[in-house]
């Protein structure tokens, strides 16, 4: 079970405004699938133009990234450098 955090915008648009969620799964892909079951449509949005921070470390496209039980997984807008 991972502690998933959505930005306020994602939460309001796709998850009835709730930003904090406990979600089963041991990889980012599993978390997205589980979230999509709970909130249909969120899966597509979280699969592109999004970066994922796992326990504070930001991953650009972390689809298969493993997730430890209890770790914090945040979905944030994608980052581009200059």
């Amino acid at each position: 079970m991972a502690h998933v955090v959505l930005t306020y915008s994602f939460a309001r648009q796709f998850a009835d405004g709730r930003t904090e969620h406990e979600v089963p799964g041991n990889s980012v892909r599993h978390l997205i699938r589980a979230l999509d079951e709970r909130y249909p449509g969120i899966g597509a949005r979280l699969s592109n133009d999004v970066a994922v921070a796992i326990d504070g470390v930001i991953h650009q496209n972390a689809f298969l990234e493993p997730v430890e039980p209890g770790s914090e997984v945040c979905f944030i807008p994608a980052l581009q450098g200059g």
């Binding site: 592109n48 921070a53 650009q60 972390a62 807008p77 581009q80 450098g81 200059g82």
Partner: protein, 759 residues
């Protein structure tokens, strides 16, 4: 410095491409030619906003010497959806329209058609023969004006993303973002001091001295060679492949030496046009932008408005922070408002935060990345307001920041909790710096500001080849903008245990190494450095295996140390260590060439923090600011080549000074750019600046074998606020709009009865 732990990392050797660059041999974009090449030129819209009713190119095409003409009809239509191109997420419908206007010209300088001719003169004449029927529309540039109801609408189909409930109203607001943490109302209720201000920033350009340039050669069998000055030739390949429906394997892109980019050369302008012209003409086509075109038609960063409100208790604890940022994205959606919102309060551990962002289209060139995109604009507002809070609480500006500094475990308002970060160490280094301890000369004032940037990882590929003589070529795919070849070679030499000169870094074209994301996001030394280190480690494994074969022992009985294969212990056998050269000379007999490879999506790019201190004087009669002393302090993880790390800090400061004092786009009533040149787009010159002192704080990044953090982007974040804070302390006048140019500062000073600045 980290030097004592490492043999090569932390030293300052000569960069491998130095001789080429100081003798004029180095070849930049405009230095490539092919026999029989044509000259390509672009016809650009003189209107800021106009419907394109018709384009008649017949007269141009008939002009002797003209070999090809293209308009939007020559570029495939693209779907209105976000797709990956290279590693960026882009809307190709917008990208193709920015490369060549379709229904509308959306900014002064927007490409409308292009020709290829045997000479530049004929090409220019041909442009004059192209007849375009425009229906000029009202335009809007300023972000606040573009957001108002009734503003001219750029895209009828555009709806604001992120509104709940969704709205179906035509708008220029492409997206609304919101980040929140804690309870903002409760936070402000507890605040004993609340400071609120509205700020603006003007649009600015990256200002690279080398204009965009490309040379395309399309063969009849569909294969294409392209030379381009770019921060990412794989990115150019990705865009051109998508825009023109060409398979990537058919497109061989060579990155020329690049004369500066700062984020502005991570997208394509000329490349797809040159390819189409070359395909139609059956000849190579060379296209080089004039400086006027660079300013009118290539992506600057946003101008914007920022409202900031910060609440603190008397003891200096910030309890609530609220911020609204609206940034211009230019002709098509996609400003850096996301990063601006996320960076806004990232330096601080605040319980209650709310940040709202708006991405707003306007009749200017599509915005491109500019060094920590969005962060300097947010920092200008937030760090100015933090200084106002410090003044209200009569606290030292660094003390207030130390009291609220983010550290490991701080939860950010955009979600993640910080891992190992170096802001506290950087603030303390600033506080203990010679500069901050020095007394202020009369007539001078001091300003401080902090800055944050995420730094990016991303895809990188690298290879390491051993020559017969045991010297090594290290191959990777990131154009070397600021000396990264040297840092890659240093890390390779350190890993391999051989002298730096024995390792040659090379950056080949897109068909000679695996995919590499752009040089940008302060990622090269981190991500591509990681790939290089892994490629060298892969090669070392093979070298050890070859030694094992020669000694006829088990591979794991061999270790690699200081450039030699050695038996792991004496009981393995009495074997003389085998050098790289010895192993290389027997490569054929022991299994063939020895090469190492690595490819990865680098994770864990450690965020960077900077704290800047500036002493300046203000001539109250003229409003002219003179920078007397400047020190940039930054957590750089590990300084691989300290001289080039210092150079990144000094360069970021200089761009920040320009952004703060004199750089802005100036438009006329018709929305046309008035200062499309280096005379009136005033970037700092050598006599404007003092020496820029740097303090490199090293808090190693745990996610990198040598503790590397990105360093290139943080330095541009603090300068504007640091300068604004110093001006406020020198004059008692708090400037809220950028740039703080002499006419504006003079007007602000005259509007206030003379009173001594509160020291």
């Amino acid at each position: 410095m980290s030097g004592q732990r490492y043999k090569w990392i932390g030293t300052r050797p000569n960069r491998p491409d130095g001789a080429h660059k100081v003798t004029g041999r180095a070849r930049f974009g405009a230095d490539f030619n092919m026999p029989g090449q044509l000259v390509g030129k672009v016809l650009r819209s003189p209107h800021a906003h106009a419907l394109i009713k018709s384009i008649d190119t017949s007269k141009a095409a008939a002009l002797p010497g003209v070999k090809a003409v293209v308009t939007s009809g020559d570029f495939p239509e693209q779907p209105d959806q976000i797709v990956p191109a290279g590693e960026m997420q882009v809307n190709l419908r917008d990208v193709t329209r920015n490369v060549m206007a379709r229904e509308k010209a959306l900014y002064d300088g927007h490409a409308v058609a292009a020709v290829a001719a045997t000479t530049a003169e004929i090409a220019a004449e041909a442009l004059a023969l192209i007849e375009v029927e425009y229906e000029v529309l009202p335009h809007v540039i300023d972000v606040a004006a573009a957001m108002r109801d009734g503003a001219p609408i750029l895209h009828d189909h555009l709806r604001t993303e992120g509104l709940t409930p969704p709205s179906n109203k035509p708008t220029n607001i492409a997206k609304r973002l919101e980040f929140a943490k804690g309870d903002i109302a409760a936070g402000f209720a507890r605040a004993e001091v609340v400071i609120e201000r509205d700020y603006t920033t003007a649009p600015v350009h990256q200002g690279y001295i080398e204009p965009h340039a490309t040379l395309a050669s399309a063969a009849e069998d569909g294969q294409i060679q392209l030379w381009s000055t770019t921060q990412g030739h794989f990115q150019v390949r990705g865009f051109c492949s998508r825009l023109l429906n060409i398979e990537t394997s058919q497109l061989r892109v060579t990155a020329t030496e690049i004369g500066g980019g700062f984020g502005g050369k991570t997208v394509v302008y000329l490349e797809p046009v040159a390819i189409r012209l070359s395909q139609k003409a059956g000849k190579p086509v060379k296209m080089v932008m004039s400086r006027d075109e660079v300013f009118r038609a290539s992506g600057p960063t946003s101008g914007g408005t920022i409202k900031v409100r910060i609440g603190a208790t008397r003891d200096g604890r910030i309890v609530a922070a609220d911020c609204t940022v609206a940034l211009q994205s230019g002709a098509f959606p996609g400003s850096p408002v996301g990063p601006a919102c996320m960076c806004s309060f990232a330096c601080y551990d605040i319980d209650n935060i709310k940040v709202v962002g708006f991405d707003v289209v306007s009749n200017r060139p599509k915005v491109a990345a500019y060094r920590a995109p969005g962060a300097p604009i947010a920092a200008w507002a937030v760090e100015s307001t933090i200084d106002l809070v410090a003044e209200a609480l009569h606290m030292d500006p660094i003390e207030l920041r130390l009291k609220n500094a983010a550290k490991k475990g701080t939860k950010t308002h955009y979600g993640p909790t910080f891992n190992v970060i170096g802001l506290v160490e950087t603030l303390q280094a600033a506080k203990n710096s010679a500069h901050y301890k020095s007394s202020l000369a009369p007539g001078r004032a001091r300003g401080v500001a902090a800055g944050f940037w995420f730094n990016v990882g991303g895809d990188s590929s690298a290879a390491a080849h051993v020559g017969e003589d045991g010297t090594v070529t290290v191959i990777s795919g990131n154009p070397d903008i600021g000396g990264s070849r040297a840092s890659l070679a240093l890390m390779a030499a350190e890993t391999l245990g051989v002298p730096y000169e024995k390792v040659r870094p090379v950056i080949p074209d897109t068909s000679s190494i695996g995919f590499n994301f752009v040089t940008g996001g302060s990622r090269v030394t981190f991500a591509t450095g990681l790939a290089v280190v892994n490629a060298v480690r892969d090669m070392i494994e093979q070298l050890k295996a070859r030694a094992a074969k020669i000694w006829e022992v088990e591979p794991d009985a061999v270790i690699w140390e200081d450039g030699y294969a050695k038996p792991s212990s004496s009981n393995v056998g009495k074997f003389e260590p085998l050098s790289l050269a010895q192993l290389a000379s027997q490569a054929g007999k022991t299994g063939g060439p020895i090469n190492g490879h690595a490819q990865l999506n680098a994770q864990g790019a450690g965020p960077g923090f900077g704290v800047h201190i500036v002493d300046l004087a203000v001539d109250r009669d003229t409003g002219i600011v003179t920078i007397e002393r400047y020190t940039a302090v930054q957590d750089v993880g590990t300084a691989i080549h300290p001289a080039y790390v210092e150079g990144q800090l000094q360069g970021g400061v200089a761009q920040g000074v320009g952004w703060a004092l004199n750089e802005e786009y100036i438009y006329d009533a018709k929305g046309r750019l008035q200062n499309a040149g280096f005379l009136d787009y005033r970037m700092p010159v050598a006599s404007d600046l003092p020496m820029i002192e740097t303090v490199l704080v090293e808090v190693p990044n745990p996610s990198h074998p040598y503790g590397v953090r990105g360093v290139g982007e943080v330095p541009i974040v603090p300068p504007m606020a640091a300068i604004g804070n110093a001006i406020a302390r020198a004059t008692g006048v708090r400037m809220i709009d950028l740039p703080m140019s002499p006419p504006r500062l003079s007007a602000a000073l005259d509007a206030v009865p003379r009173k001594l600045a509160a020291e």
